[in-house]
């Protein structure tokens, strides 16, 4: 390969915490951004060799191919339980789950709530794109009222299918949760804030301060049927009003962290 950029001029490259494998994600999807933020964080904290990831069922089912860390692949929704099993026997390792909204907020509701309730010392990266991606765009518990999906073809009817679930707000109410925040990946400024939150979440775990979760509002241009640029705008216009960004739980000890 011809090197076009001299090493001294290189300002951006693939993080070493990634493998060489190209991702399978659709163009414009924010999974790649979220992956990169995690990889950078693990490198900055120098914990790549101590990290064990737990992949979900959903679009990010193959996340284990992209991170250069040990990885396991959980059953649908069970990642927090699997992470619990790992963390309890290897308490000095960094154990994180990476889950979508179908995985975490629907089929995995019991596992995530109880992991948080126990104050399980793990980190959860929760991607909320308000739809089931891998199976082709069905309604999720997080789907917005009126949002069209293949299983709510006339738009989510709250009389019929109920209301969106706000996971960060619910989990923040629990004594076991130490750090619960919602960020978004729809523009550079918010991506920078998301990165800082991910760092805080992993620091929370590595200092033994308890359960941490970062919810990341994400795009799904393919299943939303909106182009990537407009998808980012759609997050701002439609998702953020339903899922306000912010810090929902910062325990006293996490609040004292100076990063």
């Amino acid at each position: 390969m011809v090197t076009l950029v001299k090493p001294e001029n290189m300002v951006f490259s693939r993080p070493q915490a990634f493998t060489e494998t190209s991702t399978h994600y659709c163009p414009g999807c924010t999974h790649g951004t979220a992956h990169r933020l995690i990889a950078e964080t693990l490198m900055e904290m120098n914990i790549v060799d101590r990290t064990i990831g737990v992949a979900p069922v959903g679009c990010s089912v193959f996340a284990y191919n992209y991170f250069d860390t040990d990885f396991v692949e959980a059953a649908h929704g069970r990642a927090p339980a699997m992470a619990t099993g790992i963390k309890r026997v290897l308490p000095d390792r960094c154990v994180f789950t990476y889950q979508g909204d179908g995985d975490l907020a629907s089929i995995g509701m019991a596992e995530i709530m109880h992991a948080a309730g126990r104050g399980e010392n793990i980190t959860v990266i929760f991607l909320n794109n308000a739809i089931y991606g891998m199976t082709g765009g069905q309604m999720a518990p997080t789907t917005l009222p009126g949002q069209r999906t293949t299983s709510s073809p006339n738009g989510r009817d709250v009389e019929l299918s109920g209301f969106p679930l706000r996971m960060s707000e619910m989990i923040a109410k629990m004594d076991g949760a130490s750090y619960v925040v919602r960020r978004s990946l729809h523009d550079p400024a918010n991506i920078r804030k998301a990165k800082k939150a991910i760092r805080t979440a992993f620091e929370t775990q590595m200092r033994g301060l308890g359960f941490s979760m970062v919810e990341l509002l994400s795009t799904c241009p393919t299943n939303w049927g909106i182009n990537p640029v407009d998808s980012c705008q759609w997050v701002e216009d439609h998702m953020i009003p339903v899922y306000p960004l912010g810090d929902y739980k910062i325990s006293l000890s996490v609040g004292d962290l100076r990063l």
Partner: protein
């Protein structure tokens, strides 16, 4: 160590600890709960992992996670709880990691009852979850055997990277009898080349443990590899107890508590000089089909006794074929047979004059219905 009077569930829990159990994840359900309760006290005081999970679904997925790290890990439950665990068990099988589950069976289907039963036989020996896989299934008939088989279960799980079930029933779990626990083994973390523990200080290449093979040709290879392992298990690990088989003309087959009750009946016939023997499978999976097939050729009759509608009966029929008549006696729904019941059935077999029985389960059902 000296014998002590000990309850089956407590004995299995303590045996697991002494075999080096490093992590336990479970959920309360009768008649198994003493396993959970004993470990709730003992595991933390030994500095080992114990979590009472929010459900059996979560418990088995915690087991799955810990199993991926290559430590000795176990759960325990009873029939309805084991049904909930089938998802995780299938994933554990598909990932080829070692794990142990104790099922203290109770009456079913559905919520059933909390009395001893053997009606999860098919679920256990045929796998229970989705996909092709074969668990090793060990069936104790006494508290001592429950201890010994619990210890063995961890060795077998690790040796073959396979699921091992201890298939007890409510009476083995709840009864107290004198038994000897093993010495405490030190906890040893084997340095497996597959275990997920982080890449470590030397930054070894990453490892992935998964049950997904998105390319069907890869999944096919994984299936063939697992089946090949299963044939090694079949070759090396079949276990059974035989009683009075050398000169037997009639054979009784039963496992666990049903086998133990049948033994009392067999002994009574032997005291009267009637040549009846008993085969009690210890591994109901892999099933001792070869020995059964060999024995069948010289038997005037074979009686299968189970606390179910006749599940192991199917495996006996496969092994025996048309070599000799097979009869069945079952007590499903949480009822434990008395030795006198089995004596009556052995008598029935003897007087039936070696005629082949077309459908032994139906013949038994008709007799049972007539009594209601």
């Amino acid at each position: 160590m000296a014998k002590e009077l000990i309850k089956g569930n407590v004995a299995m829990a303590e045996a697991a600890i002494r075999a080096g159990l490093e992590a336990y994840f479970g959920y309360p359900i009768t008649p198994q709960t003493e396993v959970l309760e004993h470990l709730a006290k003992r595991m933390p005081e030994l500095g080992r992992a114990f979590v009472q999970a929010e459900s059996e679904v979560a418990a088995i997925n915690m087991v799955y996670g810990a199993a991926c790290t290559g430590v000795r890990v176990m759960t325990s439950s009873s029939s309805p709880g084991v049904s909930l665990m089938q998802e995780g068990l299938s994933y554990i099988a598909g990932t080829e990691v070692p794990a142990v589950m104790i099922n203290v069976m109770r009456g079913g289907p559905g919520l059933g009852n909390i009395a001893p039963a053997q009606s999860d036989y098919h679920q256990a020996v045929r796998g229970g979850g989705h996909g092709d896989y074969h668990p090793i299934v060990l069936a104790p008939a006494s508290v001592q055997e429950a201890i010994d088989l619990t210890v063995l279960s961890f060795d077998l799980a690790e040796k073959y990277r396979n699921l091992v079930f201890v298939l007890a029933d409510g009476s083995v779990g709840q009864m107290m009898e004198p038994a000897e626990l093993p010495e405490m083994r030190p906890v040893v973390r084997q340095d497996y080349d597959w275990a997920i523990r982080g890449r470590g200080e030397n930054s070894r290449p990453k490892r992935i443990l998964t049950s997904i093979y998105i390319n069907p040709l890869d999944e096919e290879i994984a299936n063939l590899r697992m089946l090949n392992t299963w044939y090694q298990i079949k070759q090396n690990e079949i276990r059974f107890k035989e009683y009075y088989l050398d000169d037997a003309e009639y054979l009784v087959v039963g496992f666990g508590t049903a086998g133990r009750v049948a033994l009392s009946a067999v002994r009574k016939f032997r005291a009267n000089g009637v040549k009846v023997g008993l085969l009690r499978p210890i591994t109901v999976s892999p099933f001792p089909d070869e020995i059964l097939s060999l024995l069948a050729g010289r038997m005037k009759g074979i009686l299968v006794v189970e606390m179910s509608q006749g599940q192991m009966l199917d495996d006996v029929l496969i092994a025996v074929g048309r070599q000799s008549p097979v009869h069945f006696y079952g007590r499903p729904g949480g009822v434990v047979p008395f030795p006198e019941d089995v004596e009556r059935e052995i008598n029935r077999m003897i007087v039936s004059d070696s005629k082949l029985v077309t459908d032994p389960r139906k013949a038994w059902l008709d007799r049972a219905l007539a009594k209601i």
